[in-house]
């Protein structure tokens, strides 16, 4: 129902930068995730969209109409806060009906919508409860219902699932996406969690230090991260440093005289970094030698492995350095310490970037 555009949006808090020069278009009915670490400018962006902050520069358009100076209460934005922000002295139902009441909407209609929302979100029966009487997950469901019932056509969520525990979070991620799609809402959802962004969104905007560093579908962002920062942010990786060698239409990274086949346009002789995501680093038992087809197969030694639920976190030595891998549980691979295995990767598994000294700063994310 709403197409949202941010044009050259900049926000400074005094001298501190909130966001700088943000350009973003969210099509009608599109679900955008804003992904970034603490301080990346996520909350600022959400508040700007909702009108809780006004930008230092730039314009915000809803359906092409400039709303930059429209106060929050007139924007018709449904906002879901990280800490729920349910009104403590009101029942769940009163919370949900707050919007319709203060907007002077027809309450009998709104009650009907509220009832539907309660049942859609599996919280029927909690209408009369006060916020301190229900669980975190239920609170956030009520907050979600509250944001939607007041006729919002744009849903803005500021890390809405952060305070919930992992299991509820996963359930709600799916519920959220289904709900937004069923109601064909336009939605912008900030999160610090890569998995969450991937699960819920049509498109992901990766934020860093108040600017957008990459915008694309989850697949695009995952497969082609634009920088070492993004690649590292997406998950656990191991860094291999070496020199590029182009040879017979094939690209290689030379690490300690070992050739690793990769995909890159970088010229021969360029110093480069290749990142291998832990989940793409595959391990096979030595006996599989010759039976598997990979671009790079090398013998490696396991130095530690730890079961963390559905998979093992494995550290192994290959290319003369420690490499992190994730192995699904239940495969027939000896993961005991000291055992020899095959370490297998395809050329497309590596995310390759030219090596720059200052990139080292970005290790802490």
């Amino acid at each position: 129902m709403v197409k949202l555009e941010l044009k050259n949006i900049t926000k400074y808090y005094g001298k501190r930068r909130g966001v700088e020069n943000i350009n973003l278009t969210i099509e009608d009915g599109e679900y955008l995730a804003v992904l970034g670490s603490t301080g990346a400018g996520k909350t600022t962006t959400m508040y700007l969209v909702a009108g809780l902050l006004s930008p230092s520069e730039g314009r915000i358009l809803f359906n092409g109409e400039d709303v930059t100076n429209v106060p929050s209460e007139d924007r018709n934005v449904g906002f879901v806060f990280e800490e729920y922000n349910l009104f403590p002295r009101m029942s769940a139902e009163s919370n949900v009906l707050f919007g319709p009441i203060v907007k002077g909407l027809d309450l009998s209609d709104s009650r009907q919508v509220a009832r539907e929302m309660f049942s859609l979100l599996n919280i029927t029966g909690k209408e009369g409860n006060f916020p301190d009487e229900i669980s975190g997950g239920q609170k956030q469901r009520v907050a979600l219902a509250r944001a939607i019932v007041s006729n919002a056509n744009l849903l803005v969520m500021d890390d809405p699932l952060r305070a919930l525990d992992a299991k509820i979070r996963e359930i709600l991620q799916i519920e959220l996406r289904n709900l937004v799609k069923d109601l064909s809402l336009t939605c912008i959802h900030a999160t610090h969690d890569t998995q969450e962004a991937m699960r819920v969104a049509d498109k992901i905007a990766v934020f860093k230090d108040g600017a957008i560093v990459q915008l694309g579908t989850p697949e695009e962002v995952y497969n082609n991260p634009v920088s070492i920062y993004v690649a590292k942010f997406l998950g656990e990786t191991t860094e291999l440093k070496g020199t590029i060698k182009q040879e017979k239409n094939k690209s290689f990274l030379i690490v300690d005289n070992i050739k690793i086949e990769i995909e890159t346009d970088l010229k021969s002789g360029t110093k480069a970094v290749a990142l291998i995501p832990a989940e793409l680093a595959d391990i096979y038992s030595i006996s599989e030698k010759g039976k598997i087809t990979y671009d790079n197969i090398i013998e490696a030694e396991i130095i530690s492995s730890k079961c963390v639920g559905e998979f093992f976190d494995v550290d192994l030595i290959a290319f003369k350095q420690v490499i992190k891998a994730k192995e699904l549980i239940g495969r027939n691979v000896p993961l005991t310490e000291g055992s020899k295995v095959l370490f297998a990767t395809d050329k497309g598994d590596f995310r390759v970037f030219p090596f720059e000294e200052d990139e080292n700063d970005e290790k802490e994310i």
Partner: protein
């Protein structure tokens, strides 16, 4: 060597015996005895006099019936004038409270939410009238509104803007009750979760609607408490009222004047009625505070949006601040201006004998001696009252804070507030009644009786903040100390007490200030002693205004210093 070994030995011995004493004190039986004593003192000083008054009224009902309802000459005139005075007191208290709320709530909002230069100064200014003795305040307000020295100079009038009477009483009461409303909600507003308001805005509510529907319900209880305090303070005030009332008599003033005329049975009956009314108010508030909903639930989006506009809010803020200065701050401190006007002589005739210097220092009656004696008496009383109160209030506060039985806790908590709401003249009278010749006959009016009366009505001022302090100290530390083998009293001394320091100081300053400024109870219990607020009333009645202004200014300065100290202490507490 030998001496060197002796010394630690002595210290160890001392520590061991201290610990042993504390261990003995921590025995359950001793602790229970201590609790009993704590409650006993409370009953003797606060509840006892009131209960005794009730008891006496019942057993000497015949006497009262005769003097109040069936006097051979006056008939039921005494009862009628009681009703008149109580009616007047209620009217005044109601008007005053409405003003306090209308101006005090926006003021609290300004102080809690806005950041501006001089905010701290404004904050202190708002609190000041509460710390200044009401007789000084009343005198200052009388000078400002009621004489040709004050506001009427602006339009060159020979008479004051308002003569002594109801309007002047209202103006005086507004000044010293105003801070109660602002103070009681300022902190709550500052602590409100701003994110809730953000949530309200995204849902389409204008700032006024948010304040009404989200913030107000959270401030409700504080507002109610402040309102009750302002109302009962107005209802029970004596000092300022004596000065500004003229021929009109509010109920506490009637108590004082009947007491002076030694009409004991009628005074007893009136004091009793006032106490009952105040207690009913207190009980009603404590029982219904949580249950009462807000009167208006309906939302008028358009209208409320208009009320939220910048223009309206700015006008409202300007008005509140202007009204505060015009009706509270300037009149309250006008006496200082007056003092300088009359410093060396009359500003009208230039006559030296009419001036402050002559009247206070040079005239044959040497008022400065009287003032100094009264000041010393006041300081002595305030000091004794503060020390005694800290000693008896700390165990009470600890007991209430730690109490597990919710019903008993609620009851005690409510009883604690009694001295806060009943008119101090009525409380003073019941103390006179119990301890004096009509009761136990231990004391006659004088220094000791003033001390007891002051301990009684400052009791709540001491216990209340201490309960707050104890509540904020986690029991975790106590438990940790117990795990290391400390007895309960040792744990209290070593672990809890250090946390309590600023709370204790704050309570002490409150108690001291309140004792320094009391008039009503003092007049009833004083005999031939004079405290400085009472002396001020005497000076006023003798029409020696410059001397009264001198005494007032001293009082204002003392309260100002106390207030600054209080702010420093409580601020440090916040930082910690």
């Amino acid at each position: 060597m030998v001496a060197g070994e002796d010394k630690p030995d002595l210290e160890v011995k001392f520590r061991r015996s201290l610990l042993a004493t504390e261990k003995w004190l921590s025995k359950d039986t001793v602790l229970s005895a201590g609790k009993a004593v704590t409650v006993g003192i409370f009953i003797l000083i606060v509840l006892g006099p009131i209960l005794y008054l009730l008891f006496q009224i019942i057993i000497s009902w015949g006497d009262i019936n005769e003097t109040v309802f069936n006097d051979p000459i006056l008939g039921n005139e005494a009862f009628l004038s009681m009703l008149r005075s109580i009616g007047l007191s209620f009217e005044i208290a109601a008007i005053v409270t409405v003003f306090d709320i209308l101006v005090g709530v926006p003021m609290a909002w300004i102080l809690a939410r806005y950041e501006f230069k001089g905010k701290n100064i404004l904050d202190t200014m708002v609190d000041l009238p509460m710390a200044v003795p009401t007789s000084a305040l009343g005198f200052s307000i009388y000078l400002f509104w009621g004489t040709n020295n004050g506001i009427s100079r602006l339009y060159n009038s020979q008479v004051g803007f308002a003569s002594q009477g109801i309007l002047l009483i209202i103006l005086a009461h507004v000044a010293f009750t105003f801070p109660y409303v602002t103070r009681s909600i300022k902190g709550i507003i500052a602590d409100l979760d701003l994110d809730l308001e953000k949530a309200g805005r995204t849902l389409g509510a204008s700032p006024f609607t948010i304040a009404k529907m989200i913030s107000l319900p959270m401030v409700k209880e504080g507002l109610l408490a402040g309102t009750v305090l302002a109302f009962t303070r107005s209802l029970g005030e004596t000092g300022a009222t004596l000065i500004v009332s003229g021929v009109y008599q509010t109920a506490p003033v009637v108590i004082v004047s009947w007491m002076k005329g030694l009409k004991i049975p009628t005074t007893a009956f009136l004091a009793f009625i006032l106490i009952i009314i105040s207690l009913l108010l207190l009980a009603a508030v404590r029982i219904f505070a949580r249950k009462v909903g807000l009167p208006w639930k309906k939302v008028f989006p358009r209208f409320e949006r208009k009320l939220s506009s910048k223009k309206v809010t700015r006008t409202r803020d300007t008005f509140s601040i202007a009204l505060f200065f015009l009706f509270v701050f300037i009149p309250a401190l006008f006496v200082i201006v007056f003092l300088f006007q009359w410093w060396g002589g009359s500003p009208f005739s230039g006559e030296f004998e009419a001036g402050m210097i002559y009247q206070v220092f040079l005239a044959p009656d040497k008022k400065i001696n009287e003032i100094m004696t009264a000041l010393v008496t006041s300081l002595e009383i305030a000091l004794i009252v503060t020390i005694v109160n800290l000693l008896i209030a700390t165990p009470m506060a600890l007991m209430i804070s730690k109490m597990k039985n919710k019903k008993v806790k609620g009851l005690l908590d409510g009883l604690i507030d009694i001295p806060l709401v009943i008119p101090s003249s009525a409380l003073g009278f019941s103390i006179f009644f119990l301890w004096g010749s009509n009761g136990l006959h231990i004391l006659s009016p004088g220094f000791a009786m003033i001390v007891i009366a002051h301990i009684s009505f400052t009791y709540s001022y001491c216990v209340r903040p201490l309960i707050g302090s104890f509540d904020s100290i986690s029991t975790m530390y106590d438990e940790a100390a117990a795990a290391f083998g400390a007895s309960k009293i040792t744990a209290f001394r070593t672990v809890t007490l250090p946390f309590l320091k600023s709370g204790l100081i704050a309570a002490a300053i409150m108690t001291f200030t309140r004792s320094m400024s009391e008039t009503g109870a003092t007049i009833i219990c004083m005999g031939i002693e004079r405290t400085i607020p009472v002396l001020l009333v005497d000076f006023f009645e003798a029409s020696t205004f410059p001397a009264a202004a001198f005494a007032s200014t001293i009082l204002i300065i003392i309260s100002f210093v106390m207030l600054i100290l209080l702010r420093l202490v409580t601020r440090r507490k916040k930082d910690a």
